[in-house]
């Protein structure tokens, strides 16, 4: 009897404490009263959603197994099997609760060591954190006013997309990229919103943004890997609607080298050609294309060598070569210069400039843009607003970017919009709003 009363007391106190925390963190507070779901709520607020899902999942399974265990004959094989499973799940559950708790402590800017206290005394710490006004979440901000940004996609661009898409260049009109997972219980979470750009052919574009600003999400939305609520047109063709054909018109070089290291350079390129060139391509034409790519990227000399024996810069060029083989109209590169020294990186970007000069659109993410900024035509700056949504903070030439942000280098521009906890100035909202205002005034968002 006493045991039951104690259990209920601990449950109520813990729930009330977490209720306070969830309220402070702007999550659904009543979730605090449902075991498992409470940690999921906490995890969402501190960006450890995956951990929260595991806590929730294990909690549900443990409840079911607990029910089953009471109905199985002890000492039977099935009982032992279920018992082992329960022990394994309890261990996983506790570990992931600790991970969520550490995330909460980080959000409140408290040391990780308090996590042990939380787990041992599950109600004391949540009550203090939830109801003592001294403790407030540090890394949660006010969400940006959506009303202000509503309609920043100019009527001219939307109309152009809807009625008569242009035949040249890349037109990006991302209304939103949201996460729609079955495991989510609440309103949809936005990763990107209102990104509107028109990039002419023959342009080398730098995509700038801090971590979590949505660079990769935008790239994946553009190349159709992760479709967004968007319309993406490449030279007059809808990438989403014609993905089966358009995927061959887009080259994407990820940061990681996706090469089979123990194959030769020439065979790697030849296989890429076999896979990506239309069936109608004659062997002579195929050879010409392969030789052309090797010449452009300086791969001809060591073409018979194994990929694994090549330098970092060379491997990057082979990666680019496998994508370039299908002569894509849009070429996207995610940190192609990572791990390369200045000279090699410069040489690589000069080759990308050459590709752009052939009338292609080359979109590049790099974290060291200043050493090659003179080669770029345009800069896209993405920033994560205080509502954790990636937004367009600027699109224009590098000179215009310097004037807009009143900073002399791209790296300093990045610092402007980066979060404070990442060592930045935390002014993302300010510049997002400023750019929105600017495009409204211009009436042609992103179009110069």
């Amino acid at each position: 009897m006493l045991d039951t009363i104690l259990k209920i007391l601990v449950y109520v106190l813990t729930s009330v404490g977490i209720y306070g925390i969830l309220k402070k963190m702007k999550e659904t507070p009543w979730w605090a009263f449902i075991p498992g779901l409470r940690y999921y709520g906490l995890s969402r607020a501190c960006e450890r959603e995956q951990d929260g899902k595991i806590v929730l999942g294990t909690e549900i399974i443990l409840r079911i197994l607990g029910f089953v265990l009471n109905r199985i004959q002890p000492e039977s094989n099935l009982f032992i099997a279920v018992l082992v499973l329960v022990v394994v799940l309890i261990i996983i559950n506790v570990i992931y609760i600790v991970r969520v708790v550490i995330g909460v402590l980080h959000t409140f800017d408290l040391p990780q060591k308090y996590a042990a206290a939380w787990v041992i005394l599950p109600f004391v710490f949540p009550l203090i954190l939830g109801f003592n006004n001294k403790y407030q979440p540090v890394y949660l901000g006010q969400k940006i006013d959506d009303e202000l940004l509503a309609g920043t996609a100019p009527a001219s661009l939307t109309a152009a997309l809807d009625d008569d898409p242009g035949d040249d260049g890349l037109v990006v009109h991302v209304r939103a990229r949201k996460v729609n997972e079955l495991s989510r219980f609440r309103a949809t979470r936005y990763l990107l919103k209102d990104i509107n750009l028109t990039i002419p052919n023959g342009t080398l574009v730098l995509l700038l943004g801090g971590s979590g600003s949505g660079k990769t999400t935008l790239i994946n939305a553009i190349n159709g890997y992760e479709k967004a609520d968007a319309k993406i047109m490449l030279n007059g063709r809808d990438i989403y609607k014609e993905y089966g054909q358009m995927k061959y018109r887009i080259g994407f070089v990820p940061q990681q080298e996706l090469l089979r290291m123990n194959d030769t350079v020439i065979r790697t390129l030849r296989d890429a050609a076999d896979l990506r060139l239309p069936k109608e391509t004659t062997p002579e034409e195929k050879n010409r294309i392969i030789n052309d790519v090797m010449d452009t990227l300086g791969l001809t000399a060591g073409k018979e060598g194994l990929v694994s024996k090549k330098s970092g810069g060379m491997k990057k060029r082979i990666s680019i070569g496998t994508e370039l083989i299908s002569d894509p109209d849009l070429f996207i590169l995610d940190e192609p210069d990572s791990g390369l020294d200045g000279v090699i990186a410069r040489e690589l970007f000069e080759r990308l400039r050459e590709i752009a000069d052939r009338g292609k659109i080359v979109l590049v993410i790099t974290h060291t843009p200043d050493r090659v900024i003179d080669l770029f035509d345009k800069v896209i700056v993405l920033a994560r607003d205080s509502g954790k949504v990636g937004r367009l903070a600027f699109y224009g030439s590098p000179d215009e970017a310097r004037a807009f942000f009143e900073r002399d280098t791209m790296e300093r521009i990045l610092m402007c919009v980066n979060k404070k906890e990442d060592g930045g100035e935390g002014r993302a909202d300010e510049f997002i709003e400023k750019y929105a205002q600017l495009t409204k005034e211009r009436g042609t968002s992103g179009n110069e």
Binding site: L78, T216, L258, D263, D274, L275, K279
Partner: protein, 313 residues
């Protein structure tokens, strides 16, 4: 401008990936699985000794050891082949690669490896002087029937580990999962550790059960002498009952009248298993089950890998 272009289809892509795999065989040291098969074959033959297909005990332990070697080879052939290049598969899938072509190329390539490994082990078994030269139950030669069984066992294990490799995200996870699957295969084969009750249901889903059953049938297990019983009785010769030694009396009688072989054969007959009965349908049933496993595991690999695009970055 928007004319529809045609790209390499499924069959065409198989040849691209098969070519890649054959080059990997040379460059990426995949060939090392062949000497490994020879080494394992040698060790197993050494452990099996001359009693395989001579006594029931030698047959069951020898066949089990051979099947273990086959499963081991199959597992190691492909446990890492997909997961080690998973990001490449994801990228290529998005660029037009068909998963069915990719897995089909793996199936062809792995089939060649399994055939070579089976050939190597059989050669060692033959050279080591094991009694494998009698007539076969299905074909003309026992060695051929054994070869088909061992190949199917190796290939089924290979396809199972290919499916695992398609499921896990990296090589570390693959090498963590593999021992569990291996232990399941060995423990639940029902050969050395007889299983009863609910746990016996699992045996039908193991590759080892069907491999072992086939090899034991091919060796005519039920017609072989059983020596364990005699050896156990022999240990009790000195036991007295009411001042007499009945067991000694019995063993002396058997030896004196040269009836030992007859007794051993008789005890083997009583120890016989229906599953090991020397009839061709037993063997073909095992082969069919192994063949079904090959198809099921390969299909599972295709289905699982179709979701590779869902991988997080």
């Amino acid at each position: 401008m928007s004319e529809k272009l045609h790209y390499r289809g499924r069959i065409g892509q198989i040849s691209i990936y098969l070519g890649k795999m054959l080059r990997m065989f040379v460059y990426q040291n995949d060939w090392k699985v062949l000497p490994m098969a020879a080494l394992i074959g040698g060790l197993v033959t050494f452990a099996v000794g001359p009693n395989m297909y001579v006594t029931q005990e030698g047959t069951i332990s020898g066949c089990f050891a051979l099947i273990c070697a086959c499963v081991w080879n199959g597992f190691f052939n492909s446990i890492q082949v997909i997961c080690r290049e998973r990001p490449i598969v994801k990228r290529e899938h998005r660029s037009g690669m068909h998963i069915t072509s990719y897995i089909a190329a793996h199936m062809i390539y792995q089939m060649m490896l399994c055939l070579l490994q089976t050939g190597i082990i059989l050669m060692i078994v033959d050279v080591a002087g094991l009694k494998v030269h009698s007539a076969g139950l299905i074909s003309k030669y026992l060695l051929v029937d054994m070869g088909i069984t061992m190949f199917l066992t190796t290939y089924a294990a290979d396809m199972l580990s290919l499916a695992i490799s398609a499921f896990v995200k990296n090589t570390t996870a693959a090498m963590t999962v593999m021992p569990f699957v291996m232990i399941f295969q060995l423990v639940f084969s029902g050969g050395l550790i007889p299983l009863t009750g609910p746990s016996a249901i699992f045996t039908d889903y193991t590759i080892t059960k069907w491999g072992l059953q086939s090899l034991c049938t091919l060796g005519d297990y039920n017609s072989q002498p059983m020596v364990t019983l005699w050896n156990t009785i022999w240990k009790f010769r000195a036991m007295e009952v009411d001042g007499q030694k009945p067991i000694k009396l019995m063993t002396d009688y058997i030896l004196k009248n040269n009836k030992l072989d007859e007794v051993l054969l008789e005890s083997g007959m009583y120890n016989g298993e229906k599953a090991y009965e020397y009839i061709s349908s037993n063997v073909t049933h095992c082969w069919t089950m192994l063949g079904i496993m090959v198809i099921v595991f390969a299909a599972a690999a295709v289905i699982i890998l179709e979701f590779v695009d869902k991988d997080r970055r």
